[in-house]
Amino acid sequence: MGPLVPEIITDELNLIVALLVGVAFGFILEQAGFSSSRKLTGLFYGIDFTVLRVFFTAGVTAMIGIVLLNGLGLLDTSVIYINPMFVTSALLGGAIMGLGFVLGGYCPGTSFCGAAVGRIDAMLFVLGGLVGAFAFGEAFPSLQAIYTARGLGDLTLPGVFGVSPGVVAVAITIVAIGAFVATGRIERRVNPDGPVSRFPVSRHRMAAVALVVVSVLVARLDRPEARLLATATDRAYAQAHPVRMVTADEVAFRILDDDPRLQVIDTRDAAAFTAFGLPRAINIPARDLFGKTWRDILGRERDLKVFVADDEGEAVTAARLATLLGYENVAALQGGLGGFRSEILGVTAHASVAAPNAETLDFRRAAAPKLTALIAARGAAKPVVRTAKKVAGGCGV
């Protein structure tokens, strides 16, 4: 599951990836004409909307791709870098950059392309950029208040509008196509010999329709979590894919045996887990099974991971979900925690709970005080709260 950094691709190798990505980035920008300041600024005078076409097509392509990979369970979007939202500095910085764009004719990435093909103005733009950043850096201590004002964190458009990423993807795709059509008309009028005059219109119409269809199809894939949960709770699926069940006796025996290959996973909420839990159990609510947060523990193939919850059904659902997510050696506690309490811990008090045989009854009688002591020693254990570790990124670092 992506991103491949840092588990599969190390930080050192990542720098080689950066170099290769850069080569492709520079090549594409130059091929598209972004090494020319006159072509870039043509955007602002209605002469040449190439920049807008490349930019929006790239943004929409990557956006739909990310929704698709997430929908297929191939990319964990909860850990990728989201540019944080600081309203004041985003607006102020953007306004300053816009003025810099029309005066200088480049933006930072394109200025490096222009410099690479020998444009002296682009080289000076690069130099100017360093001077500007240095000026900002020197003034940084007094600018920090503006820099961090009105911070809203990793805010995304689906979060702002309360809709799924798929809906946002379709909406932005339609806006982009609308912009292509509108700017094409402007360009035809302002610059009849401009690049748009050489476009085969019917093919572009077909491409636009295809793009909308693709984005709608991808949007329907959205929310893999909901889909997997539905499968995990589906009765027909459950019958076809039974979950391995572990008896309370086996769990008790392995806990007392200090079996290193046993991992008890409690799926109840944090409050219930703090109040009562099995020794050495860890707390992972079912919704946290998605993504990479607990992958290190869940991915240990040789460990038997026993899901426990108040009732058996909940534990089975969590175990089935873990299996659907590709984890192996997963089981659920038979009878739930309620069963564990009455059968094992309450063996003397609940004489009515029948043990299958005398041997088991002896085991339970011996185990109950030891387990009770272990549970008491555990005390009110607070669950370890893990939040997904974000990838560092963006231009600030």
Binding site: A18, L19, G22, A24, L29, A90, G94
Partner: protein
């Protein structure tokens, strides 16, 4: 003979695919202006280490390595190589100041430097430029990235008219009444 530019939609699909692959592999998008900060941090640390230590702007992590050993610096070295290769293939390599005929080279170079400086300042405020904030931000549906994008293009369009003589010649009398 210079090769024609690539179809913009094709270039866009290629660029978007590259961005997608980058996010899939590294969890982050493309960028450019962040390399300014890394380069400056390295320079200031070398020249005036105490001065650098006193200003959080020059701080970087991990502390014990050079700030030049950063993802964006390596990426930008790649950008220069890639653009150069493209320029060779398309026969576009030329050591020249690109300018409209009516603008002097001196004026164009001053404006390029000034524009660069503004971008240098603005990109630090906005935590990214057209690549890192606008394009990559759009791909991950970041509200911050999209607000920055709207601010860049809004400001550029708003000021374009006032500096139009940097790019478009004044209409000549022989061409009839002046265009609006």
């Amino acid at each position: 003979m210079r090769a024609p530019y690539m179809n913009p939609y094709l270039a866009g699909v290629l660029l978007g695919t590259l961005l997608l692959v980058t996010v899939f592999i590294t969890g982050r998008g493309l960028g450019a202006s962040g390399a300014y900060r890394s380069t400056l941090s390295a320079a200031v640390e070398t020249v005036a280490p105490q001065h650098a230590a006193a200003n959080p702007f020059y701080a970087h992590s991990p502390v014990d390595t050079s700030p030049l050993k950063s993802w964006l610096v390596f990426e930008l070295i790649g950008v220069v190589i890639g653009a150069f290769l493209s320029g060779v293939i398309a026969n576009r390599l030329e050591f020249v100041t690109e300018r409209p005929r009516h603008v002097t080279a001196r004026r164009r170079l001053i404006m390029a430097t000034l524009g660069g400086a503004l971008f240098g300042i603005g990109a630090q405020f906005a935590r990214g430029c057209t690549s890192g904030a606008a394009l990559s931000g759009m791909a991950v549906m970041s509200a911050g990235g999209i607000v920055t994008m709207l601010a860049i293009f809004g400001s550029a369009y708003a000021s374009a008219y006032f500096v139009r003589r940097l790019w478009i010649p004044a209409p000549e009398a022989s061409h009839g009444p002046a265009r609006s």
